[in-house]
């Protein structure tokens, strides 16, 4: 599993790996929002938690179709299926690699972009915390979606259609915790529910992902 993780990270940072594209996309979306809604500080501060969460979610979505597509095309996935590493482990390693190349950089970049949107001072800690807790769930759910559409030629758009509804609870709890944090309300409930979703996704979705990969490799 570690070997696969290291290989995927290496592939992501080598030329053509697309590392950093998600981050750039995140930056651009957040910069575009004030052009759309106007520059008033109050308005931006109010919508900042939601914008940052939605933009992070879209940026994570952007790189999902690469998770399995390349390995499927060049045959690596079939070879991995006959390797001693179970496909559940492959799924987890892939999700982990996706998180390290996408979710983690997004989380670290978010406070800077929050500054651009006049995010309330009290909310920064919650923004970091919720993204840190929520982006692994985004990667894991996305890996499942990528596995569902891996055999399809134009699976990217379909995958967005399948994955985005699955992202709803994560988004709601994540953004809600930041908003409550900004307004000084209690945040324990949404944080705990977010943690439940992430833990549940990581515990169960590798099995669903592996089952779907086996079907697609048939």
């Amino acid at each position: 599993m570690i070997a696969l993780l290291i290989r995927d990270l290496r592939l992501a940072v080598r030329a053509g790996g697309g590392f950093g594209l998600g981050l750039a996309f995140f930056l651009i979306v957040v910069v575009l929002v004030p052009f759309g809604v106007g520059p008033e500080q109050m308005v931006l501060a109010r919508i900042a938690p939601g914008i940052l969460w939605v933009a992070a979610l879209l940026a994570a979505l952007l790189s999902l179709d690469r998770i399995f597509a390349l390995d499927f095309e060049d045959g690596s996935l079939a070879l991995l299926a006959t390797a001693p590493l179970p496909l559940e482990g492959v799924a987890l390693a892939k999700a982990c690699a996706h998180w390290i190349t996408t979710g983690l950089p997004l989380t670290l970049a978010a406070p800077t972009l929050g500054f651009l949107l006049h995010l309330d001072g009290a909310a920064y800690a919650f923004l970091l915390l919720t993204l840190l807790m929520g982006t692994p769930a985004l990667s894991m759910i996305g890996t499942f979606g990528a596995a569902l559409t891996v055999g399809l030629r134009r699976g990217g758009l379909l995958m967005s259609l399948l994955v985005l509804p699955l992202y709803v609870p994560t988004l709601i709890f994540g953004a809600e915790a930041v908003r409550r944090g900004a307004e000084g309300l209690p945040t324990a409930a949404p944080l705990m529910l977010l943690a439940v979703i992430t833990a549940g996704s990581i515990a169960f979705l590798p099995f669903a992902t592996a089952a779907v990969l086996r079907i697609n490799l048939r």
Partner: protein, 203 residues
């Protein structure tokens, strides 16, 4: 080492081969022959467990590996990195004489993307030397190899793989120069009314 009895396998839900039975003993090679589309790839994938058999039994002592034209070579990794990855996944060490056996010595640090088709193919085959599996299912392993490389590969199969008690089932159209049993698949083509296809319940 490998025993197949009454195997029926399907491609795209349609039975293509039926009643396939054969044995492969340790240290021997079975070559599959037959016209295009007869089901060589389907048979190999079924044997390797990548797709379920409709009927019949496959008993295999020892772990198996499958290799096809798509050999999972990553163009952004070097030759050594490619092989080291498969060694890690299979919890094996990368044998140093492997590079010589597949004539990859001078290419060790080249990115796989800069290799020619034949060189890339040799790299793909070298994976088989890394993973140390007893039973090999090879689908057209010699595509885009020149005569010299084909001999080199046949030598590796004979002198290394078979010598350590492995066996192989190879689908190929060319003569590898190995002393091998041959199985012609044409007699096993499934009858049009062979059962077990996914449409069977609807007919």
């Amino acid at each position: 080492m490998l025993q197949v009895t009454g195997l029926r396998c399907a491609r795209g839900g349609v039975p293509v081969l039926e009643n396939v039975s054969f044995q492969v003993a340790a240290g021997t090679v079975l070559v599959l022959r037959g016209p295009n589309g007869v089901g060589k790839t389907t048979l190999l994938r079924t044997l390797a467990g990548l797709q379920p058999a409709l009927a019949g039994q496959v008993t295999c002592t020892g772990e198996s590996a499958y290799a096809s034209h798509a050999d999972g070579v990553k163009t952004a990794l070097s030759v050594t990195e490619n092989l080291a990855f498969w060694a890690d996944v299979h919890a094996e060490t990368l044998p140093d004489d492997l590079f010589a056996a597949f004539e990859l010595d001078e290419l060790r640090d080249r990115l796989a993307g800069t290799l020619s088709a034949g060189q890339k193919r040799r790299l793909g085959l070298a994976r088989l030397g890394v993973i140390n599996r007893q039973v090999l299912f090879l689908d057209e392993p010699t595509v885009s190899l020149d005569g010299n490389s084909v001999r080199m590969f046949a030598n590796w199969i004979r002198d290394v793989h078979l010598a350590r008690g492995g066996c192989a089932v190879i689908a190929t159209h060319i003569d590898l120069g190995l002393s091998a049993l041959t199985l012609e698949l044409s007699p096993y083509v499934a009858a049009p009314d062979a059962g077990g296809g996914m449409d069977e319940a609807f007919l």
